[in-house]
Every structure is written in structure tokens, then in C-alpha cells.
């Protein structure tokens, strides 16, 4: 589904990613874990083509993404739920969801998908006419993920969906991710809540200062002494 090879990227003279390789197969859920500033967000941004890689190739669903803009990548079936949710704060919940279905192909499916998103997140249905900026943090995350699902993506990118949420809500977010997975969506998720994310994904990569330092099945990484010591604190 997604194949990233030899990718480096950065901002100005600063290099954030060095020779990163990663793959996600259809139906899989894969996590990228790592500390603050490791380059996780930069990795998702380069995958969705919000920024251009300096070297390397990105292949998505059989398409080479070289030269494509983020809007074209979205049209190919990738949905990027960005860091800090980035809802359109002055628009209502439903208008935010409508923006997720902006592309002509998605517009045709708007009502079925809307119903589906409301089924997945009943809380959003109750608050459909509420201004998105006034939602609670957890509700905003539901809305951001819902907006991503409205395009009917083949691959869903999630950037730290649990960031900035109270511990109880964090658990709910991972339950949401689990539910989305079980619906058959392919997911690439970036997280710092390592222990929890490793319980809902199949495989994971460890990113440190722009380089992939380890990778493997989620259960292996969860059991790995190095990772437990460095990131889980046990």
C-alpha cells in the first residue's frame, strides 16, 4: 500500500529525516514511535506530500508520488489527520466533515459516509451543529478522524491522536483507533503513548533523531528491554 525508501527531508538548512525506509501493507496498522522532535510529524508530512522529500521515493497504492501535490495525493486515497487536529474551528462539526468529502468522488458518498462516521462516533452526531472550536479535546479528535474518514481513504495517517488529552480520554482514542482498524482501514499512526499504541497496531518503527532505529512486530517491541527501558519507563 505504502512504500517509503531512502527518504530524507528537512526545512531550510535543517535536516529532519535521514534515509528513512518504511512500508505499510493493505489492511495493516503500523505505528511510528519516537520521542519529541524525532521527526515523526515530518515523516507523515513528507508521505502526504505537504513537504517534498529531498531524496528517496514514496510509492502509494501503485503510484509514484514524485511531483504530486498534497491535494493530488489526497485524491489518490490518502487521508492525513494532522498534528493538533487542525479542525476548521469556526465551522460546525458537520461542515468540517463536509470538507473531508470535498473531492468529487467523495461527494457522491457523502450521506452514507456521514452516517457511518456518526455511527462510529455517536457523540459527533449529537453535536453536528456545534462550532468545532468549542468541542472538548476528545470530541475534536473524533471530528478530525471523522473528517479524514469522509474521503473514504485507502490509507489513514494519524499524527499523535492522543496528544494533549486526559488519560481517560487517551484510552478512548485508542479504542477508536481499534474500531477503525476492525473496519478494515489501513492505518499509519504516529504516537508517543508507546505502550498503548503498541497494543493496537501490528508492527511499529522506532524513529530517533530522524533515523529509523528499530522495527518489528508490535508485540516484540513491547517486550524489548531497550524500548521498555528507554520509553516506557519500566
Amino acid at each position: 500500500m505504502l512504500r517509503v525508501e531512502g527518504v530524507s527531508a528537512g526545512y531550510g538548512s535543517f535536516q529532519a529525516l535521514f534515509d528513512v525506509a518504511l512500508a505499510v501493507e493493505a489492511g495493516e496498522a503500523v505505528a511510528v514511535i519516537g520521542p519529541n522532535g524525532a521527526g515523526k510529524t515530518s515523516l507523515l508530512r513528507v508521505v502526504s506530500k505537504l513537504i517534498e522529500p529531498r531524496t528517496g521515493t514514496i510509492d502509494f497504492d501503485g503510484h509514484d508520488l514524485a511531483g504530486l501535490g498534497a491535494d493530488e495525493v489526497t485524491a489518490l486515497g490518502m487521508a492525513h489527520v494532522p498534528e493538533h487536529r487542525r479542525l476548521f474551528a469556526g465551522l460546525t462539526v458537520e461542515e468540517n466533515l463536509r470538507m473531508g468529502a470535498f473531492l468529487p468522488a467523495a461527494r457522491k458518498q457523502f450521506s452514507t459516509r456521514l452516517e457511518h462516521v456518526y455511527e462510529l462516533f455517536p457523540r459527533l452526531a449529537e453535536r453536528r451543529d456545534q462550532i468545532a472550536g468549542t468541542l472538548s479535546g476528545g470530541e475534536q479528535q473524533m471530528c478530525a478522524i471523522g473528517r479524514g474518514l469522509m474521503s473514504g481513504p485507502k490509507l489513514l495517517l494519524l499524527d499523535e491522536p492522543s496528544a494533549g488529552l486526559a488519560p481517560v480520554i487517551v484510552q478512548q482514542v485508542f479504542d477508536m483507533v481499534q474500531r477503525i482498524r476492525s473496519e478494515g482501514f489501513t492505518v499509519l499512526i504516529v504516537e508517543q503513548n508507546i505502550q498503548q499504541v503498541l497494543r493496537v497496531v501490528d508492527r511499529a518503527y522506532l524513529l530517533e533523531v530522524g533515523r529509523i532505529k528499530a522495527s518489528g512486530a508490535a508485540s516484540e517491541l513491547l517486550a524489548s528491554d531497550d524500548i521498555r527501558r528507554a520509553y516506557i519507563g519500566l
Partner: protein, 287 residues
């Protein structure tokens, strides 16, 4: 009993408010979406007024056809303004954007002087006043206000009910992530410029019924439009709408108690006081 002339001034204020609301809308929507102030906005209106003059008076086209063509032509002019002048400096310092549209203002004034000379021109249409009891209202003002309000309502429906309209509102809140919705921001900018230009063209059609056109006519509408927009919160469509009616009441009612010029003085003083009290405008949030 309320003074009949005061009532007339208030009604005239409402009629003026409708037109100011339309004027403000075009400038506001462009600023809200593209973050650029069209300093030459009133000169687009001037262009539309001359267009009407040429088509209707010189070429003898039916008035409504001339109106329709002018709206379209000024909309295209808005697109060209964005494509040729603003797009190249979009990433630059805001002052550059002001300077280039200011340059277009001077250019259009000079061009109008060159082509039409400095004399005042009008369509020579005079509509009778409407008599409501003892109150006299200008029919062209009633038409202008009515058409403005219909245009504002249609635009509001468009912004509220369509995908494109929602995208136009969304982009003013977070332009960076628009591509993640599959939206090309550049295309939205062009569409918005067409809407801004089209509104200027429509305003030209309504104003040419009431005012003579001359190369400096922009000075009559430009400053007032900017003030209404800033007073409502630059880029805030609803704020601009409310501010237009408040501003118009100051002009008309102030003008009723003193003289018309004093109405403008009051309105400008009110504007300055507002800037101390709420520098962000009535409904604005930007600092």
C-alpha cells in the same frame, strides 16, 4: 410623534447601508480568504461604471444587458488582478501586496483620465422618487439596496450550503491543511477573486444610477468601504454587514441634524473612536 424627516433620514440610512454592505462584502471576502487588501477595489467599481457608460450610453445596449456584461467583465478583472499582480507577491511581505494593489489603483485612475478625460459622466437615467405618505425616497436607492441585499443573501447561501462555499470559509481559517482536503488553494483564490470582482461590478451597476463617474470616483467609495470593513473586523463578513448599517446611520442621521458633510465627519469620528475601543473591529478576532 417621531419627526417625519428624521424617519426619512433613518430610512435613507438603511438604503445606504444596503449598498455599503455590498461594497464591504467584496473587499472583505477577498481579504478573509487571500489575506490581501485590494487597495484598488473602488477603482474596479469605477471601471465597471465606465463600462456601463460605454455600453449603454455610447453603444446603446439595453441597460440590463450592459449590467450583466459589466458584472462579468469586472469579475474577470478581479481574476486577472489576482493572477497577474497578487499571485507573484503572495509569499512576500504584506507591504508589497499593499504596494502592488496601490500601484494598480494609480494605474487605473491614470488610464481612466487618459481614455475618458476628467469630466463627469452619467447614464442620464433619472428615476422618480417614491412617495410614502410625506416621505420621499429615491427609487434608484431602493433598487440599489434591494439588489444588494439579494446579492448578499445569495452569497451567504452559497458560502453556507455548497462545498465550494464551505471551502472558501474553511481556507480563511487554516489554509495550510486545505490540500489535505483535496483542495487546491490557488483555485479557491481565483474563484474568490472572481466573486470579489463580480461584487465590485454589481456595485458599479447600482452606483452608476446614482452617481456620475469620473476618474477620481474611487475616492468617494474607497475610503468608506475600507472603514466599514475595518470597523466590522477586516475579513469578517457578518461584521462588515453590521458595520455598513451603523456607518450609514451615522452619515444620514448625522447629516439630518447638521449638514450632509457633517454626517461623514460623525461617521469618521465614530470610526476613530471604535478603533480605540475595539481595534479588532466589531466582530473581529484578529489582533
Amino acid at each position: 410623534m417621531i419627526d417625519i424627516f428624521l424617519l426619512e433620514a433613518i430610512l435613507n440610512g438603511i438604503l445606504l447601508g444596503g449598498v455599503l454592505a455590498l461594497l464591504a462584502l467584496g473587499l472583505n471576502i477577498v481579504f478573509g480568504v487571500i489575506d490581501v487588501v485590494w487597495i484598488c477595489y473602488a477603482e474596479l467599481i469605477m471601471f465597471g461604471m465606465y463600462g456601463n457608460y460605454v455600453l449603454h450610453k455610447d453603444l446603446g445596449w439595453p441597460l440590463l444587458l450592459a449590467f450583466a456584461v459589466c458584472v462579468v467583465v469586472v469579475a474577470v478583472l478581479g481574476v486577472l488582478l489576482h493572477w497577474l499582480v497578487i499571485r507573484p507577491v503572495l509569499g512576500g511581505a504584506p507591504i508589497n501586496q499593499l504596494l502592488v494593489t496601490g500601484g494598480v489603483l494609480t494605474f487605473m485612475q491614470a488610464l481612466a483620465t487618459l481614455v475618458f478625460g476628467i469630466e463627469f459622466r452619467n447614464l442620464g437615467i433619472s428615476m422618480p422618487s417614491l412617495e410614502l405618505g410625506e416621505i420621499f425616497l429615491s427609487q434608484s436607492r431602493i433598487w440599489a439596496c434591494g439588489v444588494s441585499l439579494v446579492a448578499v443573501a445569495l452569497l451567504w447561501l452559497f458560502l453556507k450550503k455548497t462545498y465550494l462555499g464551505t471551502a472558501i470559509r474553511a481556507i480563511s481559517q487554516d489554509r495550510e491543511i486545505m490540500p489535505l482536503m483535496g483542495v487546491k488553494p490557488g483555485r479557491i483564490y481565483l474563484i474568490t477573486s472572481a466573486i470579489g470582482g463580480g461584487l465590485a461590478g454589481l456595485a458599479a451597476c447600482l452606483l452608476v444610477l446614482q452617481y456620475d463617474v469620473h476618474p477620481a470616483i474611487g475616492l468617494t467609495f474607497g475610503p468608506i468601504t475600507f472603514m466599514v470593513c475595518v470597523m466590522g473586523g477586516l475579513g469578517n463578513l457578518l461584521g462588515g454587514f453590521l458595520a455598513a448599517f451603523i456607518f450609514a446611520q451615522f452619515i444620514q442621521v448625522g447629516g439630518f441634524y447638521f449638514e450632509l458633510e457633517w454626517g461623514y465627519v460623525f461617521a469618521f469620528c465614530f470610526f476613530i473612536a471604535m478603533m480605540f475601543w475595539r481595534p479588532q473591529g466589531l466582530l473581529g478576532k484578529r489582533a
